[in-house]
Symmetry: C2
Subunit: 164 residues, 2 copies
């Protein structure tokens, strides 16, 4: 009898302390990195990123992508697995990745497409001089452009330091 | 000799495949939930949240908080551990939590403070009629206000459905 009561009590405790699980099943919490570098400290919003860029006097890299875009996914794999890129972004940049456009038109100087990488300097100016190799999508990078992307990161890092 | 060569090779392979780790040590990737409910699907930005609210025809709850604010932390614990709140937010709302203010002044109708909860209906209107009990901080909730917060969630859910 006491045993039975104890069992009921245990079940009640277990039920009341059970965490909410959606009907569709348990989900893996979404990270701010979204796979672009789990060890980097990603800003959540453009406002937050600009705040940190000014405060830390660091350039900001804004990366537009989509999770169902194969070009974005290929580029993400290269960027996230390149330790050199990851280290430079971590130590010298403020980073933000976005899947939805902002209301700030400066972040889409030649249209809204993905993947698209915009460098913003700590004075909050979008750098129109740090671009890829495609004249119709100036801020786009293909997987073959990884070397150019790396040199643009270095350009953003050095140019900004020497100018400011 | 062969053994030594193999060892060197193994070390080289290990080094080249090692993932980037910051000098300050490995970090735990930040989640979009930030502790407010790991099983909920959180929007990243206000633009994204509005997009989903319109598309799904659901009310949006925007929660402003700070990680070093004891009032935010107390309220977070209550909200994240209340399965009823979690289920309703998951099934009937679009949710967004922010630590930095947006440029949209409608989200700070009576100032910028935390914790602050703003309900926005699917027509993108901030609901000035769903508020807490403090006249000088109308959208603030204290831990003792959990019951009022729950009834406001129900109000947002029902009112919006019947109106639209």
């Amino acid at each position: 009898m006491i045993k039975a009561a104890l069992s009921v009590l245990l079940v009640l405790v277990a039920v009341s302390s059970a965490k909410y699980i959606p009907k569709s099943g348990k989900r893996i919490p979404q990270t701010l990195s979204r796979g672009w570098g789990d060890q980097l400290i990603w800003a959540q919003t453009y406002e937050e990123a600009l705040y940190w860029a000014r405060l830390r006097n660091k350039p900001l890299m804004v990366l537009f992508h989509l999770e169902d875009c194969p070009h974005s996914l290929e580029f993400k794999k290269l960027v996230s697995e390149d330790n050199g890129i990851q280290r430079t972004l971590d130590e010298d940049f403020i980073v933000l990745n976005l899947m939805y456009e902002t209301t700030d038109k400066h972040l889409s100087p030649d249209g809204q497409y993905v993947p698209r990488v915009i460098f913003v300097d700590p004075t909050m100016t979008v750098r129109a001089d740090i671009i890829g190799r495609y004249s119709n999508r100036m801020y786009a990078y293909e997987p073959v452009d990884l070397k150019l992307f790396k040199s643009n990161i270095e350009k953003a890092k050095k140019l900004l330091k020497s100018e400011l």
